[in-house]
């Protein structure tokens, strides 16, 4: 039996969000502990005091080593940094300088995308969770008899969004993508609850994105608008991990075409850079004809 890829994806993305929540919590705990001079019980939060009871008291003002921190926009573990390529692009455009640490932090996402394709979009980015949720809501309400639009919005818009945002960052010298990049917002929400309230502006921007996605087109943001997705798409043109269809086993039932959240057609067309290797077509195929394959030298069917 094949593993349920759709469930694996949800679990992995939730785990990553939970990881950011826990790391931010540990950092917040050490801050509060240091401020309170190592006293036994921390009272300002139920969760912190629960950690504190586990950990016990220390007689002196404790000094904790900062091991990890950050969110999906940019994080570090023991001084080893990873940043979103979009953050690097926006940083270079706005500051007009190359920061050494940012370039180093680009290595893992860059190599990962060149080899595995847009796996960030399908396996890590929490926006995909909300996209899948909306897809589910669409289907649920669709069963009642209400039909949503699924307009053929052009996939190329996202490249223009990327160019437009870079241009704005260049001209105005601010981090323009910061304002509306959903994975940055969502991972920040996971971290912010410990220290402050969630940013209302982010909520409004995010709500607007979800509203139009529900109204106009399924997976509108990821498929057509996301500048980060555009960047990953450009990088994943020469990826090695690809979706491959076995022509002899295929019965042309069309299940994979229906399953694709980005309205691609794994059954016929070459997928190009748009496919994010989510594996839903692999899961949907009843004839065992679609697989992940490692292949070099472009796309074959």
């Amino acid at each position: 039996m094949k593993p349920k890829i759709s469930i694996l994806r949800i679990v992995l993305r939730l785990l990553i969000l939970a990881l950011f929540f826990v790391i931010a919590g540990i950092n917040h705990y050490s801050t509060v502990k240091a401020q309170q001079g190592g006293q036994e019980v921390i009272k300002d939060s139920a969760m912190l005091s629960a950690i504190d009871k586990l950990y016990g008291s220390s007689p002196h003002r404790p000094i904790y080593e900062h091991v990890a921190g950050g969110g999906l926009w940019s994080f570090q573990i023991k001084g080893f940094r990873v940043s979103d390529p979009l953050a690097v692009v926006s940083d270079i455009a706005a500051s007009k300088t190359l920061h050494k640490l940012m370039l180093i932090s680009l290595i893992i996402p860059l190599v990962g995308t060149l080899l595995l394709g847009r796996v960030f979009c399908s396996w890590i980015c929490p926006m995909g969770l909300f996209g899948d949720l909306l897809l589910w809501v669409r289907r649920l309400i669709g069963k009642v008899g209400f039909s949503f639009f699924n307009l053929p919005v052009s996939r190329r818009i996202k490249y223009w969004v990327l160019g437009f945002g870079t241009l704005v960052s260049l001209v105005v010298s601010i981090q323009f993508f910061y304002l509306f990049y959903p994975p940055r917002m969502i991972s920040d929400w996971a971290r912010d609850g410990w220290t402050s309230t969630i940013s209302g502006v982010d909520l409004v921007v995010f709500g607007t994105i979800l509203f139009f996605e529900l109204l106009l087109c399924q997976r509108l943001w990821c498929k057509c608008l996301c500048p980060g997705g555009a960047l990953y798409s450009l990088l994943s043109k020469w990826r090695i991990l690809r979706i491959n269809r076995d022509v002899h086993a295929c019965t042309a039932c069309g299940k994979c075409d229906d399953a694709c959240p980005y309205d691609l057609e794994p059954g016929s067309l070459p997928l190009g850079g748009e496919c994010d290797n989510c594996g839903l077509c692999v899961q949907a195929c009843g004839d065992d004809a679609i697989h992940y394959r490692l292949q070099t030298g472009g796309e074959k069917s």
Binding site: F75, H99, L167, Q175, T195
Partner: protein, 200 residues
Amino acid sequence: MGKKSRRLFFEAGAVAGASALVGGVLAGNKSDAIARSGKLQTAVVRPPGALPEEEFIASCIGCKQCAEVCSNGCIQFSRWDHAPGTPYLKTREQPCILCMKCTQVCPTGALKSVPSDSVADIQANVKMGIAKVDENICNSYNGYVCGACVFACPFSGTALKALVWEQPIVDPDYCVGCGLCEKACIVYPQAIRVVPISVI
């Protein structure tokens, strides 16, 4: 000109036009903010080691790691004012204790890395603002000997000197703008305040 290239041309034109529009609006907003920052109310104290205000806003990507590493919990973030997502300090609520951890964790160098928390390194690299004494309301200048700010200052004796009857006097060459004096001041509203370096 083929149909496809014509379409590309129009799309590029539309995008360039839109970015010019948004860019113009944002630039207007920003220059307005800089103009307003001439007033004390809207200028903010940035964390230690910060680049000059313009470069700082351009370089900071808003990853919030500086706040996570701060063991004093003094770094806050602007939401939609100033530049969204950039860190600042409200020295009156929580001043900087000059541990320099935030400068070491910043990935973009918006906060220049200060190698350690030794006095020489801090004096050479940190300039968040300069404290300013309001002699009209300061206790020590008005007949009540106080000296709370002088005792709170980490560079007491150089940055903040006490005259006769503990009257505080700031040496702008040595003051780094950490705000410990402002937090310690027992007068309300504070008689000693940090003026952000961006408006000096």
